[in-house]
């Protein structure tokens, strides 16, 4: 990026809430039901049908507000945001404008260079989602109202970010917090966690903001980063050529890696917000607020710190293990079986995460139970099996989902620590390789590695490597 310029980025995030029912009616929020089956007179926008607020939506909003250091406004109201679009049958979206439920929050991200950056949250408010338009028809657009009325939290940041990296980190942090709270599944690809970015650039030291462009349709974390980088570059190039930035909405095209101006028949925005007379104000008093606060689980930053202290883990390990609540839970269940915390961390960070990323699955779909992984580590530490054999057992556990004990017994993988047995193998290897014995005796001690390898191979990896090492040294020296 041209160092004369500075980017200014603000993000608007829409998070679908994991309630059973919609925000203002008792229809299901279930994704993927046949079109126009999760609908009723309220979400279809029939005249006279009255919305009634789902209490859980308020609780979820307060949770998110508390988890991001917001002020929870004691009084908040709903407003109508008026615009015409076919997937919004009422002709207005019920949202919050004046008096949102949460304001003035913040969160802190750690950048790749190790520095910290605080990003302010301007507001968090409750609103309803719109329906879905299907545009692939020749002459018409098809409308599915199922999603209409699904509860959303809109989380608006201040324009505090200055790079695509910061935007990416902020978004990841929000997602981490919201999934820890269990109020949203955070799935960007499926659209239950969406992000729009306002991007502008200005000369460094300039106090006024530049003209911004809004980028939509970035349906993955990487796309958010790429789209913002693209837009910053585009705007700087225009300014350098003496041009002017036009305020516009761009749609990110992930196939072409390009942001293109949105073309639609939607009218210029004049939302004419006004308080919705159909809905009573919401009052969150201190008692209710503290009741909700008690239901907030340990949050990622706190849990990360605890992992470092309680399990004596490096920052890096603790950061990865607490990246999702499910992974952190998994790790803690392993530590109920083994006190070798660092090994537990290593196994999860390497072997387990490798399986997850290769299979594109989450830890909740991982076949090996934390108890079985813990037991595997116990079996290594009490010398029943070597690490090498343990990796074999691990692969077998992935296939058969059996307990490590059973696999070791069935496959005859017990580590050989019986010295007589190992000595027999060593004798065989020594007799078979007289030249290497001579090399060893002439002072080439490195050859010992070759012998260890041969013995391990002979024993099919089952010989206890420590005993092999000791006995080999003794036996080879005796050859003099």
């Amino acid at each position: 990026m041209n160092s004369l310029y500075e980017a200014v980025i603000g993000l608007e995030v829409h998070a679908q809430l994991l309630t059973e029912t919609k925000i203002f009616c008792g229809c299901s929020t279930n994704f993927g039901n046949p079109p126009n089956t999760n609908v009723c007179l309220v979400c279809l926008g029939h005249p006279g049908a009255l919305p009634v607020l789902n209490q859980k939506v308020v609780e979820f909003a307060v949770k998110m507000g508390l988890a991001t250091d917001c002020t929870i406004n004691r009084n908040s109201i709903f407003a109508r945001k008026n615009y015409f679009y076919p997937d919004l049958p009422k002709g207005y979206q019920i949202s919050q404008f004046e008096k949102p439920i949460c304001e003035f929050g913040k969160l802190v991200v750690v950048k790749n260079d190790g520095s910290m950056k605080e990003i302010q949250i301007k507001r968090i408010h409750m609103e309803e989602d719109a329906g879905k338009s299907i545009h692939d028809q020749e002459e018409t657009t098809l409308i599915d109202i199922n999603r209409c009325g699904t509860p959303l939290l809109e989380i608006v940041s201040e324009p505090d970010m200055n790079s695509a990296e910061e935007a990416y980190l902020y978004l990841s942090k929000l997602r981490q917090i919201i999934t820890y709270l269990g109020i949203c599944d955070g799935n960007m690809e499926e659209g239950s966690f969406r992000c729009d970015a306002n991007v502008s650039v200005r000369l460094k030291g300039e106090s006024q903001l530049g003209t911004k462009a809004e980028i939509k349709n970035m349906n993955s974390f990487r796309n958010v980063e790429k789209a913002i980088e693209f837009e910053i570059k585009r705007q700087i190039e225009i300014l350098e050529d003496g041009g002017k930035i036009i305020q516009q909405t761009l749609l990110w095209n992930a196939e072409q890696n390009i942001a293109l101006p949105m073309r639609s028949k939607e009218e210029a925005h004049d939302y004419r917000y006004f308080p919705d007379p159909d809905l009573m104000p919401v009052e969150v008093d201190e008692i209710w607020k503290s009741e909700i606060e008690k239901k907030i689980p340990e949050l990622p930053d706190t849990r990360c710190k605890r992992f470092i202290e309680q399990f004596n883990l490096p920052n890096y390990d603790a950061g990865i293990l607490t990246s999702s609540k499910e992974l952190a839970d998994y790790f803690e269940k392993v530590t109920e079986v083994t006190t070798d915390y660092k090994s537990a961390s290593n196994w999860i960070m390497t072997e387990v995460l490798k399986v997850l990323s290769e299979g594109k699955i989450g830890i909740s779909q991982f076949i090996i139970s934390p108890v079985n992984l813990g037991n595997l580590i116990v079996l290594i530490n009490n010398k029943t099996i070597s690490i090498k054999i343990a990796k074999e057992v691990f692969l077998e556990m992935l296939k058969s989902n059996q307990e490590p004990d059973t696999i070791i017994k069935d496959k005859n993988l017990l580590q050989i620590s019986d010295t007589t047995e190992i000595e027999t193998i060593i004798d065989k290897v020594i007799t078979a390789n007289p030249k290497d014995v001579q090399e060893f005796l002439s002072g080439k001690e490195k050859v010992i590695g070759f012998f260890v390898g041969q013995v391990m191979k002979e024993s099919k990896g089952k010989a206890n490597p420590q005993i092999v090492n000791e006995l080999l040294k003794k036996k080879l020296s005796q050859q003099k």
């Binding site: 008792g26 089956t37 109201i77 657009t141």
Partner: protein, 96 residues
């Protein structure tokens, strides 16, 4: 604050309504009359009055997060001017 014919055209456009010149003039006149009527309120001193968002003093009217059966799809679609078996149909929205 006088309403001009341009204001009326703007509001008509936002409301997706079309009027002829005569109607536009008539509405301009009516809008101005309504606003003049409300100007009367400016005679009151409201410096210390909190804005009212709802005439009824009641808060926290909630429902539990419990499923209520939805209407049948056929029922939902039946008043629609255009439809197919599963969807509402509207004129094409995006210019492709």
């Amino acid at each position: 604050m006088a309403v001009t014919i341009e204001d009326v055209k703007y509001i008509a456009n936002l409301s997706h309504l079309k009027f002829d010149e005569k109607e536009l003039e008539s509405f301009t006149h009516q809008f101005n009359e309504i606003l003049t009527f409300f100007e009367k309120l400016n005679e009151l001193n409201t410096d210390n009055v909190v804005p009212l968002s709802h005439p009824v003093e009641n808060v926290n009217v909630f429902r539990e997060d419990v499923l209520v059966s939805s209407v049948e799809r056929e029922e939902a679609l039946k008043n629609s001017p255009d439809r197919n078996d599963n969807y509402f149909k509207v004129p094409k929205v995006i210019n492709k």
